[in-house]
């Protein structure tokens, strides 16, 4: 079998719901619900601010994110050159001819700047830069401004420009320009893939008025490519002809835009916006590491584009508050975090005010539904908003009386159903009303587990580490139990997986704690959050990828003994203890960029 996998590879996973970012990165899977092959691509890059230009202006650039330059610009019309080292700008030798709307390409030590507007006329002037000074070389055959291009100081390309809307292109051999084939669509004020070459170039957008048209050049002829999503002129570009970003510009209404679009060689995808909208800006670098500099009006703003770590991170936001603040409640919910059910719990400290009230969440607000028959707290809930179980717990808070009764919810009312075998509190439950599991709890502290098959509770293998106030998620044949306190009341980080017959220890949590809550529908992917750790209550959140735990963004405040459900991509933290009885709700979301693989 090992040899077979080495030769043929592993089979594609068949899953009912899409993988999350951590499990799905680099993977292809078959979604049995939608009957699609899918994968996750990096969702988007992001811009971050960097050191300001010494002289604010519209300008053009060349080079890379750690060794770049801008030259020329306006207003006022200047030949100033500034070099960028990845964090700040330093003035260098000026262009011989002050002008703006040039076309520049190359590197910080070998740049080409051609064309432009001097304030009175289009320019055909071409200059090359050696890292310190500019030297004039052969003029363009057609003077122009606002053109696009690509290449180097020894193999350059210029295309289009004004006045107005030229289609003619020219190729540079290091000393002189020769006319090439015309573009399909004449234009000016366009953007271009700044690291494109004389034989593989890409230009996009342009004026007058702004358009979305894109063309590529193969050294001989121009080909129309798929359009930009946002028509604009005066935008900038970075990268090569098969992978680039374009950013900024002015829309047809002449308003500056912050949009950024990524080109994958086939189509454009809108990604993270610039923080400062602007047109006529300088752009250079790669599609994965670009720089946006300057722009109208006399902007000094510099921003760096980073596409290297772009699997989006999760974050918590506040959700709609509970009508009845509570902690130690029972909670159920399967599927999206917009379909939660929370019920029972304690409404005051020291937790003797036990409630029977149940509430449903629709993604924005909570609505009361049928009460439990028996008010209870510190029990366990599982199932869905329309088919849930409320299991055991205490009718008088931590002081007892612990019960073994179970109630079943049908979406509107509760009905008593088969009792579990061992009355308990401070345990967790997972699964559905036809296939569930409960494990752990006290008093006394136990590792006892019971499995529900739709008609009866059956004792199954105990947890290896007896514990109370653990959290857990999954199904009754693929369960994860995490944290809690051992019989000596010491908080533990121990995690165990259940396969339907036995529990096996797997990777520990980073933070030992009890009174945590969790989200997850299988034992290979989930989220654990909040609780009480050794140092006190915590906002800590950890993501489980089936092998190990990774700390991710904290809750906005310390919360313990709350309800929780959902998945590692979309979860809820409901109520709980926040130093007082909480009605607060937090929603966890990890943006995903799942793509269906087409033929």
């Amino acid at each position: 079998m090992t040899d077979y996998k080495a030769i043929k590879g592993k089979t594609v996973q068949h899953v009912a719901s899409d993988l999350d970012n951590s499990a799905g990165e680099g993977q292809i899977w078959f979604n049995t619900t939608s009957s699609d092959y899918k994968t996750i691509i990096k969702a988007a890059g992001s811009w971050s601010t960097s050191g300001a230009l010494n002289t604010g202006r519209s300008t053009e650039g060349a080079g890379t994110q750690t060794a770049g330059l801008v030259a020329g610009g306006a207003p006022p019309i200047t030949g100033k050159t500034e070099e960028y080292d990845g964090s700040s700008w330093t003035e260098s030798g000026d262009l011989g001819t002050s002008r703006y709307y040039t076309m520049s390409v190359g590197s910080q030590t070998a740049a080409l700047c051609t064309g432009g507007y001097t304030g009175t006329a289009s320019s055909g002037t071409t200059e090359t830069y050696n890292g310190s000074t500019w030297t004039e070389t052969g003029d363009l055959g057609t003077a122009r401004y606002g053109s696009g291009g690509g290449g180097t100081t020894t193999a350059g390309l210029v295309a289009g420009g004004g006045t107005p809307n030229l289609a003619v292109s020219e190729e540079f051999d290091g000393s002189a320009w020769a006319e090439g084939n015309d573009m399909n669509n004449g234009r000016e004020y366009m953007g271009w893939a700044n690291q494109g070459t004389q034989t593989a170039a890409l230009v996009h957008g342009g004026g007058p008025g702004g358009n979305a048209n894109v063309e590529s050049y193969d050294g001989t002829s121009w080909t129309e490519e798929n359009n930009l999503n946002v028509a604009q002129q005066g935008g900038a570009g970075a990268g090569i002809s098969t992978f680039s970003v374009e950013f900024g510009g002015k829309n047809p209404g002449a308003s500056a835009v912050a949009t950024t679009e990524q080109w994958d060689g086939v189509s454009w995808t809108e990604v993270g916006d610039l923080s400062t909208a602007r047109g006529d800006l300088g752009g250079f670098g790669l599609g994965t590491a670009a720089v946006a500099a300057g722009g109208v009006s006399s902007s000094t703003a510099t921003e760096e584009w980073d596409f290297t770590s772009t699997l989006a991170a999760g974050a918590w936001a506040t959700g709609g508050s509970l009508n009845t603040g509570r902690f130690d409640q029972l909670h159920a919910g399967a599927g999206p975090a917009t379909a939660a059910l929370t019920f029972g719990g304690a409404t005051n400290s020291p937790a003797t005010g036990v409630t029977a009230v149940a509430e449903k969440y629709d993604g924005s607000s909570w609505t009361e539904t049928g009460d439990l028959n028996t008010a209870r707290s510190i029990g366990a809930g599982f199932g869905t908003q329309t088919a849930a179980f409320g299991v055991a717990g205490s009718t008088n808070g931590p002081s007892g009386a612990f019960v073994d009764s179970v109630e079943s919810f049908d979406g509107s009312s509760w009905t008593e159903t088969t009792d579990i075998n061992t009355a308990r509190g401070y345990f967790f439950g997972a699964g559905t009303t036809t296939a569930g599991i409960v494990a752990g709890g006290n008093p006394p502290t136990t590792g006892a587990s019971e499995s529900w098959n739709g008609s009866a509770w059956t004792e199954v293998a105990d947890l290896n580490t007896a514990r109370w106030a653990p959290t857990g998620f999954g199904t009754n044949t693929a369960t994860l139990a995490a944290g809690g306190a051992n019989p000596s009341n010491a908080k533990v980080a121990v995690v165990e997986q259940f396969d339907g017959s036995s529990w096996t220890e797997v990777g520990d949590l980073n933070t030992a704690a009890y009174y945590r809550s969790s989200a997850g529908t299988t034992n290979t992917s989930g989220l654990v959050f909040g609780g009480q750790a050794v140092g006190g209550d915590t906002a800590n959140t950890e993501d489980w990828n089936g092998t190990s735990w990774t700390e991710v963004a904290d809750l906005a405040q310390n919360v313990k003994e709350q309800g929780g459900h959902g998945t590692s991509v979309e979860a809820l933290s409901v109520g709980g203890w926040i130093g007082s009885v909480g009605s607060v709700v937090y929603e966890w979301t990890v943006p995903q960029n799942i793509k269906t693989i087409a033929d």
Binding site: A313, A315, A317, S321, G397, A556
Partner: protein, 104 residues
């Protein structure tokens, strides 16, 4: 009120929209007893305070609010006793005694 690193304020968590995912991604924010919130000091967090009708506080003012709240919780914990109850039983019943919180 900012101290160059953090903003301190009092604001009531109004639920949905009080903290958005964008807020969480743009700046660090942490809640404490007495509706005290501490954020990274930046333009976005100042806008967040204004958007939520927060009242800016100095660090000292915010710390006092938190400390008073924790002290009240400690007193309530100390005063809540049951006949013959051991310390472990009390912790099991009430949870651990509230601890002091020092704001960043």
């Amino acid at each position: 009120m900012a101290n160059d690193i953090f903003n301190y304020c009092v604001a009531t968590n109004t639920g949905k929209g009080f903290i958005t995912h964008d807020d969480s991604r743009r700046f660090w924010i942490s809640g404490y007893p007495a509706n005290v919130w501490v954020c990274t000091d930046c333009v976005e967090s100042r806008h967040w305070v204004a958007r939520n009708n927060g009242t800016s506080k100095t660090k000292s003012e915010a710390q006092t609010l938190v400390t008073n709240n924790v002290n009240a919780a400690k007193t309530a914990w100390d005063d809540d006793n049951e006949e013959g109850e051991t310390s472990a039983e009390k912790i099991a019943r009430l949870g651990a005694k509230p601890v002091d919180i020092t704001l960043p």
